[in-house]
Each structure stands twice: as structure tokens, then as C-alpha cells.
């Protein structure tokens, strides 16, 4: 009888793996590493969802995607409908499906994860949005009557695109002002092609445009117009989604040697300027034979994997703590390891050494050990005295984070900054100290994730609408 009962219960399929390009192959190209689900695996994976009546997963999503509903549609093979369901609250689904850290957002909340592995929400999101795009023209939701109110969005990164898309859906006249020559912010200059194809970014930016958003590129707020001037020009609210945008360099001897890049420069040359296609594209990028990337976050992983694809023979990550403390996503660390990146833990640079042409040839490293936990809860690295050693390299990339970019902030006299120099904005309302000015994303939080920036965008759209409808600040 026992046995009979068990047989009746339909066995749950395991969490479906997503195929990836073979490491030996993929380090020779810039094509996307992850290859996506097939229809069959997508439906199988979607069928694992319990469609909880009180879903926890939605709580984990900063833009509150109705996850169980879209997964139910996907399980039934209604992929286009599933994609539209996501787009009700998320204008960038194919991007989120690829770069969101689902393991710490929605998937960590999935009740299946208690005994088994959670539903692969990100992979499904990616599949259904790609599926919809492959059908050709995507439907544009009907836009209510225009409100006749202009909103300026500074920056076309994840927060800016989100607030712009949501406000356009409500009937506002939205203009995004972007400093670079391409739209997408960090999605185009920062995240590499092999993780987020630029064609996907262009497709989702295009969707935002089709919602009625105007994007003006090559426009540096702070130079071409101040925020005050934007109000004078008829905008009634301004959202600042500038990104962090100031690379941190280590204050060490030799930091300005040729061959030492900020991760921002290294990635911008490769991603935005397409240096990997040099000389078809004009912008070059030298890597040499041995590349060392300093840092343990996602940007460090992106940089080191880019250097491999640019032809480096030996690539290293130098990190001052141990593997456990690295802030990078586990998946990215695994990808880097599979591709042959060597990780050197518990070492920290103290000096960069150059040759007679002022080019880096080696660095002096110091061994560290872990001490007591610091404010971040991670164990603090403590130098081991007298443990210096010399380490040869052709290129060093500094990927230790970013600070606030002073350029645009210098023209924001009425906007209060916090003690770290970021904009002080309320987390819930995204309001700054200046009337009519909202802010979100990395310029408020410091370096965070795409989806957190989008969460700011979503909350800002609600608050901007409230403000413009009532006039109340």
C-alpha cells in the first residue's frame, strides 16, 4: 500500500540545467556563454513550480514580477503571454533573465528550495522573453492619453530605462539624456557580450523607445545643461540615474604605469568600443601574455574573462580575502574557473613596478591572513609582515569598485550628498533634498546590481506620478 501511494505521486523533474558553450571553445569567442533553454526544457522546468497561493518569490523581486503567473503560462506553453506578464512590471526581462542574481533574490525565496532546488526563475524569464522577441514584432501595450507633462531622466542605465518605461506607460512625455553614444549605461559599457549580448540590450532599449520614450545620446548633464536648466526647459520632474562612474585606483606607487587599467576602461574599450574587433573597430586594447585582475566582484570576473578572450595566455584574479568572501556570483566564479582563470587568494598589491618605457612589468604583493570580521561581516584581511614577493605581469586591471562621479554632481547645488559623496535619496520614495528631483541606482547606493537599480526605477515612477498629479512634495 505504501508503495502504491508513492507511485501515484508524480515524480518531480529535477531543476533543468541550461546548456553552455564548452569552456575550451568559448574562451576563443565573445559569443554568449549560456545558451538558453529549449521549449521542452522550459516547459519541464516551469512545471516544477508549485504556484504557491502566497508566493514568496515575488517578495524577493525588486520590480515585483508576478512570477507564479508567468511560470504557469510558460508551463502551458504560452510563452508570449508569459513574456507579456513579466513586462507588466519589468521592461527589461531578457536582461534580467541573464544578469540578475536570482539566487539571492527570487529563487532564494522559492519553497522548493527548502528540500530540493528552487525553480530556475531567471532561466525561464530569459527563455520566454527571447521567445517573444523571436516571433518578430513585439506588441506594445496601449498607452493611456498623454498627460502633457515632461520628465527628464538622466542616464539610460537600468534605473533610467525602468523609470522611463513605466512613466511612458502612464502617459508622460519622457526624455532620457545619455552621456555616451550608446544607450544602456552599464549594460553596454560594463557587462561583456559573452554574458549579455548587446543585441539583447538594443532590443530592450528599443522596446522602451516604442513605449514613447525619447532618448538623446551624447548629452552630458552637468555640462550641456544643469538640472536647474532642465526645469527651465520645461521638464517638471528629473530622475538622476547616473551610475557610480568614478573608478577607484589603489593609491600605490606605480599606479599610473602604462598597462594598468581601471576595470571601467578595460571593459569600456572592449564592450562599448568593441576593441575585441580591432582593427575593424578603431579602439585598441592591449592585454599581453599575463593579465592580473585585482578584485573579487562580478566586474573582476568580467574583466578577467574578457582578457582571456582577447588572447591572454595566463590570467589571474588577485583577491585579498579568501574565496568565501568574494562578492562575485558563484556562477561567474565557476565560469571563470572552468575557463582556466587562476585565483590567488589572500594576497594584496603594495607596489607596481615598471620598465624603462614606463610600462608595468611586475608588482609587489603582500600575503594576508584573515582576522576578525569587519563591518561587512566578512573576516578582515590582515597583512603578514615580511611576506612581500614579486609577481610578473604584462597587464593589471584594477577592479576594486567605484565611487560617485563628481561631474554631474558638481552642478547639483540643491541636492544633498551623503558622507560617501553619493546622492541622499529616500529608499522608498527616491526623493532627493531638491524639489522635483528623484534619484536611484548606483548613484544612491554605491555599486549594486542591475535589478536593485531597476527597483529604484519602479519606485521612482510611482512617486514621480504622485508628485506630478498632486504637486505635493
Amino acid at each position: 500500500m505504501e508503495e502504491g501511494k508513492k507511485r501515484k505521486k508524480k515524480p518531480k523533474p529535477p531543476r533543468q540545467e541550461m546548456p553552455r558553450q564548452d569552456p575550451a571553445q568559448r574562451i576563443k569567442n565573445f559569443s554568449e556563454v549560456a545558451l538558453g533553454y529549449s521549449k521542452e526544457t522550459a516547459m519541464l522546468e516551469a512545471s516544477r513550480c508549485l504556484v504557491c497561493p502566497k508566493p514568496k518569490c515575488i517578495e524577493g523581486c525588486p520590480v515585483l514580477v508576478d512570477i507564479p503567473s508567468f511560470i504557469k503560462l510558460a508551463a502551458d506553453g504560452k510563452f508570449v503571454e508569459a513574456s507579456k506578464k513579466i513586462k507588466e512590471t519589468n521592461v527589461l526581462p531578457a536582461i534580467c533573465g541573464r544578469v540578475c542574481p536570482q539566487e539571492t533574490q527570487c529563487e532564494i525565496k522559492c519553497v522548493l528550495g527548502i528540500k530540493d532546488k528552487p525553480v530556475a526563475i531567471g532561466r525561464l524569464e530569459r527563455f520566454v522573453s527571447d521567445f517573444e522577441a523571436e516571433q518578430g514584432e513585439v506588441d506594445i501595450p496601449s498607452i493611456p492619453e498623454k498627460k502633457g507633462k515632461k520628465v527628464a531622466i538622466v542616464g539610460s542605465g537600468p534605473s533610467g530605462l525602468t523609470v522611463a518605461g513605466e512613466l511612458a506607460k502612464m502617459g508622460y512625455d519622457v526624455t532620457i539624456l545619455e552621456a555616451l553614444h550608446k544607450s544602456g549605461g552599464v549594460l553596454v559599457y560594463g557587462i561583456p557580450e559573452f554574458r549579455l549580448p548587446k543585441a539583447i540590450v538594443a532590443r530592450e532599449v528599443d522596446f522602451v523607445r516604442k513605449l514613447g520614450v525619447k532618448i538623446i545620446r551624447n548629452f552630458v548633464v552637468g555640462r550641456a545643461a544643469s538640472v536647474d536648466e532642465l526645469f527651465e526647459e520645461g521638464y517638471e520632474a528629473v530622475f538622476l540615474g547616473l551610475g557610480a562612474g568614478l573608478p577607484r585606483f589603489l593609491e600605490l606607487p606605480g599606479i599610473n604605469l602604462v598597462g594598468i587599467y581601471s576595470a571601467n576602461e578595460f571593459l569600456t574599450r572592449s564592450n562599448l568600443m568593441k576593441a575585441y574587433l580591432f582593427p575593424e573597430y578603431d579602439t585598441p586594447l592591449q592585454v599581453g601574455k599575463k593579465v592580473v585582475v585585482i578584485g573579487g566582484g562580478n566586474v573582476a570576473m568580467d574583466s578577467v574573462r574578457t582578457s582571456l578572450r582577447l588572447g591572454a595566455e595566463e590570467t589571474h584574479i588577485i583577491y585579498r580575502r579568501s574565496r568565501k568572501e568574494m562578492p562575485a556570483r558563484e556562477e561567474e566564479v565557476e565560469n571563470a574557473e572552468a575557463e582556466g582563470v587562476i585565483f590567488d587568494f589572500l594576497v594584496n598589491p603594495v607596489e607596481f613596478i615598471g620598465d624603462e618605457n614606463g610600462r608595468i612589468k611586475s608588482m609587489k604583493l603582500l600575503r594576508m591572513q584573515l582576522g576578525e570580521p569587519d563591518e561587512s561581516g566578512r573576516r578582515r584581511p590582515v597583512p603578514i609582515e615580511g611576506s612581500e614577493f614579486i609577481y610578473d605581469c604584462d597587464t593589471a586591471v584594477i577592479a576594486i569598485g567605484q565611487g560617485p562621479n563628481p561631474l554631474a554632481l558638481s552642478t547639483l547645488e540643491g541636492v544633498k550628498l551623503n558622507k560617501w559623496g553619493y546622492i541622499e535619496a529616500d529608499w522608498d520614495t527616491t526623493k532627493t533634498s531638491m524639489k522635483g528631483v528623484f534619484a536611484g541606482g548606483d548613484i544612491v547606493t554605491g555599486e549594486a546590481t542591475v535589478i536593485e537599480a531597476m527597483g529604484f526605477g519602479r519606485r521612482a515612477s510611482i512617486e514621480i506620478d504622485k508628485y506630478l498629479m498632486t504637486g505635493k512634495w
Partner: protein, 279 residues
């Protein structure tokens, strides 16, 4: 897209363009620059704003053919468009009445010096201008500059025009003439700015130089333009391009400027080959 409204060949290999950019024309102050990208495959190149015409809504840039991008730019004509153009970038020059100002432009670097010198004159300074170049053919904007300068000198390395020698020779003569100089401005090759600064330091004359570092975004995001000023790292794109000439580490600047020499040659040779093959 920004349309080319006017083009003038200043001298062999040095082109002046007036480009439609109404907002930049309105906002720009002397000392600032733009970054342009000719086409989809193009690199981002920083160029000084040599002049503006607010009525026409245009800015003037001057570019010397030194490699692929500047060569390609030189082939464009009136009616053609530049794909991307962004600005104004950089800190404007601090303009005020200092007294006597010596403005020194080296080669095509005089395009940087030119609008600043004029603004200094308009602010009521006694303006002495020196344009220096390797040879006569590389002297640009001579008549225009002469028009607003109280004193005007030309030096060429080969003696083909003006005084034979370097700008520093002329500057030394002016200094030893006993005139009190309140400020020296220099824009040109790094080596020229270095020697001007060494000279003025001897005499304790305040000196401002405009640095021509390699740039990518031009908004402080990448840090490729970093220079050392007074032992501190600065970004030429947002902290500059002008700095105290006595504090700049020119040797570092020169080394960093040479970073992509090999790649620049590869790209240029390939471009010339293509142009030749295409007839």
C-alpha cells in the same frame, strides 16, 4: 549626427571644421573640448573647441592628420555628418585680468591656445602670443591670432618663418626684456609644455598648460587620461585639461601618450592600404 557646415584646409594635413552643435555653441567656455566619433567603428577622439558661432549654432574644431581617425576626418566635407559629438567637456579656463599674459601655442596645439588667448585679451590683459612650429607650413591661425594680440611672435625649428628656434627662446627674450609677466599659458606637444614650464619656474611665473591625454569617455568614468599633478593623480578630462604647469609630471604624460603607438600604426597602415586599394 552633427553636420559639417564649413571646412577649411589651414595647411597641408591640418583641417578646420565648423560643425553644427547649437547647444554646445551656447554652453561652451574657452578651454573646453568635445569628443567625436566619426562612424560606428570609430574611436572617440577629444578635440578642443577652437571657436564657436552662436548665431550659426556651430563649433569650430581643428584636427591634424596623425593617424587613421584624423585622416578619415580630413576626408569629410561640407554636408557630411559626424556620427557622434559630445560636449562641452572639461573645466573652462579661469579667465580674468591678470595683467600681462603670454599665450604659447605649439603646432596644431595653437588651436587650444587661440580661444583662450582671445578671451584673455577680451578680459583686459596685455596679450603676447607666440606660435611655434617645426616649419612654416605648420603654423595655423596666424592672421586671426595676430589680430587680437598686443605682441605677436612666430618661431620655427628650421627657421623657415619667423624666428629660428623654439618658443622658449622667444619667451626667454621677452622675460629678459624686463616686462613683468603675470601668467603664461601653453598648449602644444608635451615636450614643449615641459620646457616652457621649466623656464617659467626659474623665473617664478605662474604657468597653465592644457594637457592632451588619451581619453575614452571624457566624463571621468575610465581614468585612461590620468596624469600626475603635484604628485597626485588627476583626470585630465574632468579635473583638467588645464593644470599648473610647474606641477605636471610630463615624462609620465609622454609615456602614457605612447601607449598605443603600435596599434595606431597598424590601424593607419591598414586604412591607407584600403584607401589605396579603393583607388
Amino acid at each position: 549626427m552633427n553636420k559639417i557646415l564649413n571646412k577649411r584646409v589651414l595647411t597641408e594635413g591640418v583641417n578646420l571644421f565648423e560643425i553644427e552643435a547649437p547647444r554646445i555653441a551656447m554652453k561652451r567656455k574657452p578651454g573646453q573640448f568635445i569628443i567625436l566619433r566619426i562612424n560606428e567603428e570609430g574611436e572617440r577622439i577629444p578635440l578642443t573647441i577652437a571657436d564657436v558661432n552662436k548665431d550659426a549654432g556651430s563649433i569650430t574644431i581643428v584636427a591634424q592628420v596623425v593617424g587613421k581617425s584624423t585622416h578619415h576626418l580630413g576626408t569629410l566635407n561640407v554636408g557630411d555628418s559626424i556620427r557622434d559629438l559630445v560636449g562641452p567637456l572639461g573645466q573652462p579656463t579661469h579667465i580674468e585680468k591678470f595683467g600681462t599674459v603670454v599665450a604659447i601655442g605649439g603646432g596644431v596645439g595653437h588651436a587650444v591656445c587661440y580661444p583662450i588667448a582671445r578671451a584673455m585679451k577680451e578680459a583686459g590683459n596685455y596679450l603676447i602670443t607666440i606660435i611655434g612650429a617645426r616649419t612654416k607650413d605648420l603654423i595655423i591661425l596666424e592672421e586671426e591670432t595676430k589680430g587680437f594680440s598686443d605682441e605677436f611672435y612666430i618661431t620655427t625649428d628650421d627657421g623657415s618663418y619667423g624666428r629660428k628656434g623654439l618658443v622658449t627662446d622667444q619667451l626667454k627674450e621677452i622675460i629678459s626684456g624686463g616686462k613683468k609677466i603675470d601668467l603664461v599659458l601653453a598648449a602644444g606637444p608635451a615636450i614643449m609644455m615641459k620646457f616652457v614650464s621649466l623656464l617659467t619656474k626659474e623665473y617664478g611665473i605662474k604657468t597653465i598648460v592644457s594637457l592632451n591625454s588619451i581619453m575614452v569617455d571624457g566624463t571621468g568614468m575610465c581614468g585612461v587620461c590620468r596624469v600626475e599633478v603635484g604628485g597626485k593623480t588627476k583626470f585630465a578630462c574632468v579635473d583638467g585639461p588645464e593644470f599648473d604647469g610647474h606641477e605636471v609630471n610630463y615624462d609620465l604624460l609622454m609615456k602614457r601618450l605612447a601607449t598605443y603607438k603600435t596599434e595606431e600604426k597598424v590601424a593607419y597602415d591598414r586604412y591607407l592600404q584600403k584607401v589605396n586599394d579603393g583607388g
